[in-house]
Amino acid sequence: MQDSLVIAGKELNSRLFVGTGKFADHNKMKEALEESQSEVVTVAVRRVDLGGDDQYILNDIPDYMTLMPNTSGARTAEEAIRIARLSKAAGMGNWIKIEVISDSKYLLPDNEETIKATEALVEEGFVVLPYMSPDLMAGKRLEEAGAATVMPLGSPIGSNRGIQMKEIIQIMIDEINVPIVVDAGIGRPSEAAEAMEMGADAVLVNTAIATAKDPVAMAQAFDLAVKAGRSGFLAGLGATKAKASASSPLTGFLHS
């Protein structure tokens, strides 16, 4: 059965998105990206040498991957918009992951500014993938603004604490119609599987792979976990329905 994820018309076979920060070296990073089977990779625009011949990190990203430049470092919607335009002008495509963070301590996203930036950049023709603090109303507003996905954090970025925001993320998965990508906080493969079992459409993992003892092996582990979690989600749905129609242990007496 084909179970691909479609974002802005792009069909993706892997539901694992990966990041490029925190790696000890770019050769290891490239190998990890390849082994992850991922097709979407996020890169901080501020780390790319936009004017230079040496495209820094971009040369070390496999060609088949879709680039999702991010606005890391932006503290306001206005800064995020400017970074997005620089990214497009530098030839990094029209996907943009909005990150607006005005909190240097916990690095929690500013939803209000994120919504503003999303509205403006959708208007300019970007495929906008906003990173946000889990919240149903903010998620709905991002959807209305035309976001291609909504990407709530599982727990604070880099914390490797797993899906601490589980209840709210489940509500967002149930109520928001664009794909939900759980971004940030996933520290181990089992937590990626957990997000997928919950029905998330994809997960984004960076720190857990980049800072693992063996990033390449960890990338493979996440690939497997995401696939397992997704299969579990799909299988779970089927099984629940089958059981409900096969027998009615509590209300069977009504039919006898």
Partner: protein
């Protein structure tokens, strides 16, 4: 409210006695916690905590990797002027030291910029002696017009200014500010800074805060270790960083742990700060403020800089010249202080890679 109010409260505490009374149990409790309080930070700076340096190092290493990954940001200082109106006893640029002073012309700024850029450096800090007449707002803005062409991030380490002046400089593209209090003890401060505007302790103390208000993206503070009891000074530096971070959540507040180096004034440090002391100060701070940047300069010896790589630093200078015009004319004039690590940028990059760190040359984009 200013950090001065916090400082006044701390000054009323018998810190030295309290330090001696910290128990092994206090240190162990601090090490078991996920987030530590001011009291725990204090305990980690105590003499008793020096028995736990390995445990502290393990924890600091894990926190640094978690927050910053296996990366190290590299930058260089660009000395533009050694004119100074102050009399800091520990600094070669002091107005009392007699040597021919110099301020770079814009052509020279450009030559220095090219020389630094050729080394692959993208982040620089403009440094000068403290003279409002020379390293003025107007002059720095002129420099920025040139430097913007070569660098993706430019910071300042010059004389303290007013908020409006900082705002003008932020608008010109400056994104970070380094200002060291030197010493948080007001009496010692007045002994060491006998003349010039630097004599005003509180104006200097509030400088990082003015930078935050003006919209600087990051602020770096420090006490110059060796001027007073390092445990006390480190504790107060940590409180200062915490104060700024809580008040200005959008600013990245970082610290550094500079030790006094040989200088033209032949000033001798009042207090010896050993490698072990410096490491303890850095580890305690990392555990207290895990998200905060820590800068290590070429003041420190190459072997020591290598040894402390995993213990918390996130930014390093490399191949630094502390001489005005020093990148294009290496044999020139008076340095601010003697550096200890003379290795080239490529050598430092090689060392970082050898230890499993990715040297990061660019981590911001002028927008």
């Amino acid at each position: 409210m200013s950090f001065y109010n916090v400082l006044e409260e701390v000054n009323h505490l018998p810190l030295e006695n309290m330090m001696e009374n910290v128990s092994h149990h206090d240190v162990e409790r601090a090490l078991q916690k996920e987030r530590i309080t001011e009291e725990d930070y204090f305990a980690l700076l105590s003499p008793k905590a020096s028995d736990y340096l390995e445990e502290m190092a393990q924890k600091a290493h894990q926190l640094t990797i978690q927050h910053f990954g296996n990366t190290m940001q590299l930058f260089l200082p660009l000395y533009v002027s050694d004119y100074c109106v102050n009399t800091c006893k520990y600094c070669s640029f002091s107005v009392d030291n007699d040597f021919p002073r110099r301020i770079l012309t814009m052509t020279e700024v450009e030559e220095e910029a090219k020389a630094i850029r050729d080394m692959g450096i993208e982040h620089i800090i403009i440094l000068s002696g403290e003279s409002m007449m020379h390293s003025s707002v107007k002059y720095i803005k002129q420099c920025m017009k040139v430097l913007k062409k070569y660098f993706s991030s430019v910071g300042l380490e010059i004389q303290p200014m007013d908020t409006d002046q900082y705002k003008e400089l932020v608008d010109s593209g400056i994104d970070n500010l380094t200002v060291y209090q030197e010493v948080y003890d007001e009496e010692i401060y007045r002994e060491l800074h006998t003349k010039g505007p630097k004599r005003f302790f509180k104006y200097r103390l509030d400088t990082p805060e003015r930078g935050c208000e003006a919209g600087m993206r990051s602020i770096s503070i420090a006490a110059l270790l060796g001027l007073n009891d390092w445990r006390r000074e480190s504790y107060i530096t940590g409180l200062h960083a915490q104060y700024l971070q809580q008040k200005y959540l959008d600013v990245e507040v970082g610290v550094s742990f500079p030790r006094i180096q040989p200088n033209a004034g032949s000033f001798q440090p009042k207090v010896e700060v050993t490698d072990k002391n410096l490491v303890q100060a850095m580890l305690a701070y990392r555990i207290f403020q895990p998200h905060s940047g820590i800068t290590v300069s070429t003041r420190e010896r190459p072997e020591f800089r290598e040894q402390i790589l995993p213990l918390g630093p996130t930014k390093m200078s490399a191949a630094s010249s502390t001489v005005v015009g020093g990148y294009t004319e290496p044999d020139n004039t008076q340095s601010q202080f003697e550096i200890s690590d003379e290795r080239s940028v490529d050598e430092v990059k090689g060392v970082l890679r050898k230890h499993g760190y990715q040297p990061v040359m660019k981590d911001w984009q002028l927008i």
